[in-house]
Amino acid sequence: MIEVLGVHKSFGPLEVLRGVSLDVAAGEVVVVLGPSGSGKSTLLRTINHLEKVDRGYITIDGELIGYRRRGGKLHELKEREILKQRKDIGFVFQNFNLFPHLTALENVAEVAALSDARHFLERVGLADKAAAYPRQLSGGQQQRVAIARALATRPKVVLFDEPTSALDPELVGEVLDVLRDLARSGTTMVVVTHEIGFAREVADRIVFIDDGLIVEEGTPGEVLDHPVHERTRAFLSKVL
């Protein structure tokens, strides 16, 4: 479904991704763990071309993201074509990034028909908050609206960039419940998170990334309970 191959990305002199390859199957839930600054958010942002890669490529259902192959070269797509591709890739931000001047319903309806928008709000349990502005909602509710909005384009895959990191502890649960529900319904998901408990319960596969490279990957049992690599062990000992 998603194929990431040999992706490199630098910001100035700082090499954030140093050759990352990752396959995600349809319906699979992949949780990406790693220390801050390890490149996990950047990896996620390259998948929907919010960040351009320096080397390597990404395909979704075999379609090259952000580029077109012509002759022996990869030509960057026009912005209009990239925007069209992004409809297939839902993205949920750490800071929600809801549109503050639009109501919850209007936020979702910005990318879907009104009836669809209502349906997706209902799906995250916020049908009764349709008329509320983001500022009138709690952080957890805002993130759930953001998830409804990301689902509204009916994407093939949804990417979550630390969806609970900006939330008060008591609000984390309601957002994880929505994620759990999505995972159960067979949504293809890549989740960057620090919620180890959630990773253990929901992930089909855990990928541990450090210093721009995938250090280790496997089932939750393998990575969390029997980490092979020293760096994975050091990280887990800090967060578990």
Binding site: L50, L83, Q85, R86, N97, F99, E110, V111, R135, A150
Partner: protein
């Protein structure tokens, strides 16, 4: 030690929660209020009793046909200057924010040039453009001409005034629009891009409504300042409000009364603009209510 304990117990017996609360008094505030009221009374007294204000003349001219026509001209100049100025200003702001260094430099240069030239100089320049170019033509540089006009027929004094005001206004409007756009959180653009919302729609539906919140107070300042700034075009003998009162007091020497006619009209129209500003701002603040 023992006495301390005793005090605590006695406070508890004497239940403070039932006592009424007396707010702190501010006697000096009342002194300030009295002082200002006396000054205001003196000012009003002067307005009413000093015959030099010449209120009968004021009353005669305030709604005179010539003055009303002039007020109309002032409004037309303001509206055209605002609409054309902000329309061009948005274009200049977009150029200035372009990723292309050339287009960005074009935007920057426009703003630099039109902020550098005093409005009155620019107006006189446009007024006298026909001395510089007798004919204007459309065509290929150094090649054939397609159409050509007499400059003097194309640019009337009123046209020159509108042109000057709009070009001047556009430079300021561009910076106000740009300040609004860069005040919108980066995450908003990212979210819109991640959702695949087309570029123009991103600007119109997501960025502009949020930018409006910081654009509006500045834009209202500009409109009001342009509105009074139209008095500058009196140098081009255009019959706007300020030119008209000058003409009249040049004839009858009632300088103060006629300046008051203009002043009161400026105050009335500025008040209307301020009220309009209040409602427009309230509309764009709708996501900010709790």
């Amino acid at each position: 030690m023992t006495s301390g304990t005793l005090t605590l117990v006695s406070t508890k017996d004497d239940d403070l929660s039932s006592l009424p609360v007396v707010p702190a008094r501010h006697p000096w505030r009342w002194v300030g209020v009295a002082f200002v009221l006396v000054l205001a009374a003196q000012f009003v007294h002067g307005l009413v009793t000093n015959p030099a204000w010449d209120w009968p003349t004021f009353a005669r001219y305030f709604t005179a046909r010539s003055i009303l026509t002039a007020v109309g001209t002032t409004i037309v100049l303001t509206v055209l200057g605002t609409v054309l100025g902000f329309a061009l200003g948005i274009v200049v702001a977009v150029l200035r924010m372009s990723k292309s260094p050339f287009l960005s430099a074009v935007g920057w240069t426009y703003i630099w040039a039109f902020r550098s030239i005093p409005l009155i100089v620019q107006l006189l320049f446009w007024f006298n453009i026909s001395y510089l170019y007798q004919r204007l033509s459309l065509g290929v540089p150094f090649g054939p001409e397609f159409v050509s006009f007499e400059t003097i027929a194309l640019i009337s004094p009123m046209g020159a005034a509108v042109l000057g005001l709009a070009l001047h206004q556009a430079a300021y409007a561009a910076e106000i629009v740009r300040s609004g756009v860069i005040s919108v959180d980066r995450g908003q653009l990212e979210a819109a891009a991640a959702l695949g919302i087309p570029r123009f729609r991103q600007f119109r539906r997501i960025i502009l409504p949020q930018a409006m919140r910081s654009i509006l107070p500045n834009a209202a300042n500009e409109v009001i300042s342009l509105f009074k700034g139209t008095s500058v075009v009196s140098v081009m003998a255009i019959g706007e409000l300020f030119y008209q009162v000058q003409v009249i007091y040049g004839r009858n020497a009632r300088v103060v009364a006629l300046l008051m006619v203009a002043t009161v009209w400026y105050i009335i129209l500025t008040t209307l603009l301020s009220i309009g500003q209040h409602y427009v701002e309230r509309y764009f603040a709708r996501g900010d209510r709790r």
